[in-house]
Symmetry: C2
Subunit: 210 residues, 2 copies
Amino acid sequence: MESYPSILLENAVNQVASLPGVGRKTALRHVLHLLRQSEKDVDAFTSAIARLKKEVRYCRICHNISDQDICPICQSHKRDHHTICVVENIQDVMSIENTGQYTGIYHVLGGIISPMDGIGPKDIEVDSLMERILPEHIQEVILALPTTMEGDTTNFYIYRRLCNMLESQHNPNMVKITQLARGVAIGNELEYTDEITLGRSIVNRVAFNG
Amino acid sequence: MESYPSILLENAVNQVASLPGVGRKTALRHVLHLLRQSEKDVDAFTSAIARLKKEVRYCRICHNISDQDICPICQSHKRDHHTICVVENIQDVMSIENTGQYTGIYHVLGGIISPMDGIGPKDIEVDSLMERILPEHIQEVILALPTTMEGDTTNFYIYRRLCNMLESQHNPNMVKITQLARGVAIGNELEYTDEITLGRSIVNRVAFNG
């Protein structure tokens, strides 16, 4: 345990060290960096975080973070509102938006089903997703969850609920359910690709469209 | 440039990304981590930093960070007040304290002479160091600055000023001036030690005291 020359310093270091992946040495470096800034700059730092926490809102349609009641993506007339991409969290929306390849709308679950962490379907935004999927409006649901066991579990759970719902409405084939393509990453050497990915991408090979 | 779904979020990420060595992806992760905490926890986070900046004080003797006017080390009767260890910054005091090998007191320069960065002797606490070194009180000054060109420059500057001061007081040999031992780090393999360090530690070899 390091000894700090000041309790104020120790408190600040403890707080910064609570951030994910930040050790006490790095936290001390961050805190001393802030201490060298002007009072105005430090105030800008702390108030940006405090304001975000106090004033943050989530889009009531897709649950993405937003400054308004409905986020710009859900509001936009340029987006394809017949396609919903289901993602785990806000970062995933940003990642997909950054590709510039997707024009549909989103649904942020806010987590994935993980029995090990005690997260069940009721803890994430699955019910609100089901309410959004009206066959007369939605043509495709893209499951874009992580390629982990938890992601696969959540994919399967949503898929089953969707099929049941559509069957009970006598619309079994009205909504297309897809998932992200999986395979060897672009730019990767085969020898460095893990066995499971490589194995699956051989089994699930696609027609060459040279 | 990434597009953020919220200006509040973007501001918070910009602020956190201003910390040294924190990129925008890491900053986003930190901010979303804070967003998941309770309002009380976020308040504790921001107020610990704000309080440190507003209420921080520096020991008026050694310039170490302190909650009081004079720091616990300078106040302590258990410390050897005849020996001053000159360091660059607060972290260095903590590092030396953590060794448990030093019982003297400190002097924090708050920087080192670096003409490239426009930092001269007037920008660091050299004058206040000279005022502290009264030959009737101080027996040894340990120069514990970084083993860089800037550190060596500062060492040499302080050494010259000290010698001049002591000579003008007709006390040339009253104060011992020392520096940290330099050589191969404990636990290091010779083959991985850099050439300059290894070369100097051969030239400056010391008697074996097995």
